[in-house]
Amino acid sequence: MKILLALDDTARAVDEALRLASEKGASLTALFVLDTGWSVYIGSDFLLGSTARSKFLEYTRDDELSQEQASLAAFRRQAEAAGVAFDIKTASGGRIAKEIIMEAAQGYDLLVMAAPFRRGLEVMRDAPSAILKAATCDVLFVRGGE
């Protein structure tokens, strides 16, 4: 069995994916998607000068990279402690849900993710609904609480 875990700020999703992988003896892949959608999100604003715009985009990129490091390090620590074999993948795109759907189509049996999904601009969007409609494998949504 192959499980895909979509990483965000929700610790319970990681716990649940590790528990399932351990119980079923499944292989676990953690996916972190860097959000590159900010340029489009602020694309219509006409007042911003190019310096202010590029500084902000640099800032969001740095924030994404530091979240990636923190998130992957925390996952690695927990997976090693749980004794689960794991793999890590990263992707980037303007729509995180789309990247998750594309990865989930690569022969996984189960996708585990938090609902609501808290990553980048997905806080404004409804990634779980989009994924539920398009996913080609089973999906387990883990409640993250507020």
């Binding site: 900010w38 489009v40 999100y41 602020i42 694309g43 219509s44 604003d45 006409f46 007042l47 911003l48 000068g49 310096t51 202010a52 715009r53 500084k55 902000f56 640099e58 800032y59 969001t60 924030d63 994404e64 303007g94 729509r95 808290r118 990553r119 980048g120 601009l121 806080v123 404004m124 969007r125 409804d126």
Partner: protein, 375 residues
């Protein structure tokens, strides 16, 4: 979307741009004339006269429909580069608006605009700093909300957040709040303005002071009166807008300095701690404002011809198309589903500060600004 270069970039712009231009053409040629003739509630032209559904608001509505209905919530890749030119169109339009004034006229109205804008910008900033703390919002977000409610919405939020270490996902929520509030005010303000019989001068001053986002100020003024000429709502509203735009660097500096004085250094980035006003001014000053003043200088020197000249007539006709095309694009960046997810403390603070500013500005304008225009 991957970045394209040279000719490929120009070609990528064409499909989206064609949609924007084609939409405006249809709206101006068929839809608006039909609406002017249509009889609703027994009144000919009710849709345009009462609801202000002229080509300006229709352009924004068309853009919103494209994104939320036809595009399924995301501008498709084939149209993205074209729709992104909306920024360029609005910016060019604002520069051309400079031709509606002379330096003498600007000086005449400018002092009132500076007084009102300064009071409302900084009044709102200080209110948000106080109220945000009261509702327990974290210091970074208080800074971002203070800037975006105080001055120019999205631009101010984006310009402030790196200095105060605001979490980008929370900035997105703040932007959604500001845009959502702005869209609401954009549609109701022309109706209120007409119901209260505000003059173009009063209306321009009110929305220029009370509406949070600059693009929405322009659209609202044009919805109230779509004419491009000295003495119209857009001519007054834009003076207020320009004063506001110029105040962005000062607001960013004050808020970042405030954030860096926090006991918890989390709300202050390294860049924020080393911030200097001159550097902020250089980085955040919107250069296109110089173009606006350049046009005003040309107008003052008579280089654009006298009022009623063919040059001015052509310029204003071009302006109406430029803004219309740009506003179709602006509408296409409004995702209703995203706006509906705004919530939490940013929404609470944004709504309270935005409503207060909007209502108090109306009261002040009605009490202290005469109906008679200064020019």
């Amino acid at each position: 979307m991957e970045e394209r270069k040279g000719m490929a970039h120009i070609l990528a712009i064409i499909p989206g741009l064609a949609v924007m231009i084609g939409t405006l053409y249809l709206l101006r040629t068929f839809v608006e004339p039909w609406m002017k003739e249509a009889v609703v509630f027994g009144q000919k032209g009710w849709l345009v006269q009462v609801l202000s559904l002229n080509y300006i608001l229709l352009s924004i509505i068309a853009g919103i429909i494209y994104r939320n209905v036809f595009f399924g919530g995301k501008i498709p890749d084939w149209a993205e580069a074209g729709f992104r030119t909306t920024r360029l169109f609005i910016k060019s339009g604002v520069i051309m608006l400079g031709s509606l004034y002379t330096l003498q006229k600007l000086a005449k109205v400018g002092s009132i605009a500076i007084l009102l804008i300064s009071s409302f910008v900084f009044g709102t900033v200080f209110f948000v700093l106080w109220y945000g703390k009261r509702v327990g919002m974290d210091r970074s977000m208080i800074g971002v909300m203070g800037a975006s409610c105080g001055v120019c919405g999205v631009s101010a939020a984006v310009a402030t957040s790196p200095g105060v270490n605001a979490k980008p996902s929370e900035v997105a929520l703040a932007i959604a709040t500001i845009l959502g509030f702005g869209i609401m005010t954009m549609f109701i303000s022309p109706f209120i303005g007409k119901a209260l019989a505000l003059s173009d001068y009063q209306f321009g001053a009110w929305v220029g002071t009370g509406i949070l986002n600059s693009g929405q100020v322009l659209a609202t003024c044009l919805a109230f009166n779509p004419t491009f000429a000295p003495g119209t709502a857009v001519a007054y509203g834009e003076i207020w807008n320009v004063v506001r735009v110029i105040s962005i660097p000062f607001v960013v500096f004050i808020i970042t300095t405030w954030a860096c004085k926090a006991e918890a250094a989390e709300s202050c980035s390294t860049a924020g701690a080393q911030m200097k006003l001159s550097k902020v001014f250089m980085d955040r000053f919107p250069i296109f404002v110089l173009g606006f003043f350049g046009m005003t200088a040309m107008s003052s020197l008579g280089w654009l011809g006298a009022e009623g000249s063919n040059t001015l007539h052509l310029l204003r006709d071009v302006m109406s198309w430029i803004f219309g095309i740009g506003l179709v694009g602006q509408g296409a960046y409004i995702d209703i589903r995203e706006l509906k997810r705004a919530g939490g403390k940013p929404l609470r603070v944004g709504l309270v500060a935005g409503t207060l500013k909007y209502v108090v500005a109306l009261v002040v304008i009605m009490l202290f600004v005469s109906k008679d225009a200064s020019f």
